[in-house]
Amino acid sequence: MTTTDANREASGDRENTAERTGSGKRRPADAARAADKGRVTGKSGTPAPDRASAPDDNDLGAAGSQLSTAPREESPNLPSLGVIGWARWFWRQLTSMRVALLLLFLLSLAAIPGSLIPQTGQDETQVADFIERHDTLAPIYEKLGLFHVYSSVWFSAIYILLFVSLIGCIVPRTWQFVGQLRGRPPGAPKRLTRLPAYATWRTEATPEQVREVALKALKKRRFRAYVAGDAVAAEKGYLREAGNLAFHLALIVMLIAFAWGQLYRSEGNKLIVEGDGFANTLTQYDDFRSGNLFSADDLNPFSFDLKNFRGTYETTGPNKGTPRIYEATVDYAVGADGEQKSTKIEVNKPLEIDDSKVYLVSHGYAPVVTIKDGKGEVVFSGPVPLLPLDANVTSTGAIKVMDGYRNADGEREQLGFQAFFLPTYGGAGTAVVSQFPALLNPVLNLEAYHGDLGVDSGVPQSVYQLEKRKLKGYKDAEGEQVRENLKIGETMTLPGGNGTVTFDGVKEWAGFQVTQQPGSGWALAGAITAIAGLAASLFIQRRRVWVRAANGPDGVTVVEMAGLGRSESAKVPEELGDLAEVIHDEAPTVAEAEVLPATTQDSETEGAEKP
């Protein structure tokens, strides 16, 4: 709402009455109109006839000015030549409400493609899939940055422009507002009748008394009020403007906090088997990503051990197998040698250490196996984490014995096992997939190989996959690949006296994601401020009240009150009525029954206007 609107509102030509007394009678507007006629033509008998000057819009302009700090709307006239002229013009445009509106639109439109096209930041495999399927479209999308919309040049350009506009808008508005707080509300306009809410009566109290009463009543209602000339001027609701400025400032704080967080962010994953631990250093992560300005020294020092993982699942009904509880019990310590504390990490309840958060993000099983060579020496013993393939945690992975093993002939060799694990095996004759995610009937299926695992070739390989190129499968008597289902406690024997594999038991593992994102506190503070400021700016009405008390020509005091809000609202007249009531109680109407100027004059007008 700009100044000009306030003016227009104030000089509007529509009227109706808010009948506060509830007499239920026809409104006295007819009388009012008639009386006003008299006033405009300068006839006597109307209140305050000395004020019946020609309409003076400038006067009203001052009364309605600075009711807000919104920038003035200027038509986008091109400036006359000159670099400074152009720069100033450009700046004005950028910080105008019209351009702010346009940029808001652009921003929301620009955000749309990112929600419909797969984004690298969210799902790389979907992006790869999309690129594979769309030969012509994909390169175009790639050029336009459509696979990473929210970090693309054009998206950044829009929001940076918006925030420059915001800053350019907010700074002058703040100064203006400070000025308004220091200054005083403008004095009463000459013609209070032109304001959106108006009341008047004649009283025996002196003008000074009325003003004093008015001043007191207004101050009691926490208006800023003072006497200027024959009138009291008052204003209230500055909190609206303050809230609005706070809201826009909070947006800036949020944006900066968000950008800061992105630049210094780090995120890594770590899989931990029950009983094992983790210390927060770069080398310990299974994988790690970070923002552009992050450095390894920024990692918060802490460590933790996974004591126990608990998962429970729906056992009946159509959602059988749906996870109900995931819960990891950990002992953690902050700093190099901090005190050990125990806590639980759940899916929605990360462990927070400084600005790092440790999330529980996945879980699975790690069968514990013991592998012995032909002489009965243990060459491998421990849990082997396997990756879940489906909702019932059918898992797969590999067991690799890299060194220490000698075969029946005493030669050095490496062993490899392709492993399948079913926490709940359906029994013979059922498909080789798990029937339920919990450990009801665990079965470990192993396929045995020997030879060279290929781990020394320098090519990185997944711990979950067996590189079989240089491996030979163990064959049974019929020449079939050796493959066996083991229950807990069972042992499988490798043919030719090459050793044994025992399935000792199952441990659970949990996958943790450790994220560190500075600035979240600022973002949250900004968000809370934004909501508070927004509520203030939308629910508080800034408004002005003037009370004029002056002697009429007959010596009787005429009280006139008027109210002006920033926008049209029923609250302004309501409040004016309440105030009028308070003041009227102290300065009651003169009892002069028949002196009703409105009804005694201009009876034709009155007749003509009756509906």
Binding site: E15, N16, T322, Y359, A535
Partner: protein, 372 residues
């Protein structure tokens, strides 16, 4: 099966019965509203035209009020000063219509019946939502079926609250109940999900905060959108009259009974502005939840993105109302676009776009997102 599970299934089927009963009563209310409109069409209102043509003829109005106090009956009993109100210039001086019944007594009777039926249906539907919640022993906001039944309950609740506050909103009745029936129809057919508990990723008190405010905001935005659409119709009707056009008989009959375009515009502005801070809060609560559940508070997931777009559209709407040249119809179009974004975010993104918010298999998504 345990005893508790049996009770829960019992409650769930009671809930279903209640929802179907509520639909039946809403249908009755729907017919009662229709009847109100039908009876109302007998009345000839013509206030808008009268007001506008009076203006057009240049019937000069006195431009300011003056005397507002008189002494009743010439005695010393004094009345309090009256406040005279003037409206903005440029606004058409059109009085509000009398409502669907058009002043017709029988119409009014049916209108009251319709409201009573709506109250009854609301109570039943509320019971349905409540028993659903009891049957799953959590807040009833775990899937789209539950969202839909809660959503329509809240929308009707908002409407009835406004009525209870003596606001002039009975004109909302017919459009609202029509869409409530659509919403429930979708819920019990396409979206129905047997009652069930939540996967761990949805377990958080932020769920209750975020989802309940989201549903509430949606319902209020919806009420605002109905106001905006009617505003657009009424505004073009008034423009047509003002420029000397003669709208059709049906349009006249319906439009005359609605509040003036200025009132409708103000109504939808108030409604939208009132929930906008809550919508802001909803998004922030969602970000906090995402921070706890997914390790980042904002990640441009489709759901997050569309909430943001909706938010920016509503912000644009509020700005437009403060920008010269954008008030009125243009601002109204933005408000409608904003609500369409909200709807799309609910139906479109939930069903058509894959993201972390696909409620059916959140636990799997969580597992996959790590890609260990």
């Amino acid at each position: 099966m345990t005893l508790a599970a049996a009770t829960n299934e019992n409650l769930a089927s009671i809930s279903n019965t209640l929802i179907y009963s509520a639909m039946a009563v809403y249908t009755l209310a729907f017919f009662a509203y229709i009847t109100e409109w039908l009876f109302g069409s007998r009345s000839k209102v013509g206030r808008t035209a009268a007001a506008l043509t009076a203006d057009a003829k240049g019937g000069k109005k006195a431009d300011a009020p003056a005397v507002t106090v008189r002494s009743a009956g010439g005695t010393s009993v004094l009345e309090r000063p009256k406040v005279v109100v003037r409206a903005a210039a440029g606004a058409r001086d059109v009085p509000d219509g009398p409502g669907a019944h058009g002043g017709d007594e029988q119409g009014d009777l049916y209108g009251r019946i319709a409201v009573s039926l709506t109250v009854l249906a609301f109570a039943i539907e509320f019971g349905g939502v409540l028993t659903r919640a009891l049957s799953v022993q959590r807040a009833p906001w775990g899937n789209m079926y539950e969202f839909n039944i809660t959503f329509s309950t809240v929308a009707v609740g908002v409407y009835l609250s406004l009525l209870a506050l003596k606001k002039n909103v009975r004109w909302l009745g017919l459009p609202l109940i029509t869409t409530v029936l659509l919403d429930l129809g979708l819920a019990v057919t396409v979206l129905y999900t047997a009652s069930d508990q939540l996967v761990p990723a949805l377990h958080s008190y932020w769920l209750y905060i975020h989802v309940s405010t989201a549903i509430f905001c949606g319902a209020v935005f919806y009420v605002g959108a109905v106001g905006t659409i009617l505003y657009l119709f009424k505004d073009s009707y008034e423009s047509k009259l003002a420029s000397g056009g003669r709208p059709g008989h049906f349009a006249t009959s319906v439009m005359e009974r609605l509040p003036s375009s200025a009132s409708l515009d103000k109504f939808s502005y108030r409604v939208n502005a009132a929930v906008f801070p809550l919508w802001t809060f909803t998004i922030i609560a969602g970000a906090i939840w995402a921070g706890d559940a997914w390790g980042r508070y904002w990640g441009w997931d489709p759901k997050e993105t569309w909430s943001f777009i909706t938010w920016v559209f509503y912000a644009a709407y509020l700005h437009a109302r403060a920008t010269a040249g954008w008030k009125g119809r243009k601002a109204a179009y933005i408000a409608i676009a904003a609500f369409v974004c909200w709807l799309w975010n609910y139906y479109g993104v939930n069903i058509l776009v894959s993201g972390k918010h696909s409620y059916a298999d959140v636990s799997l998504a969580v597992l996959q997102s790590v890609g260990v």
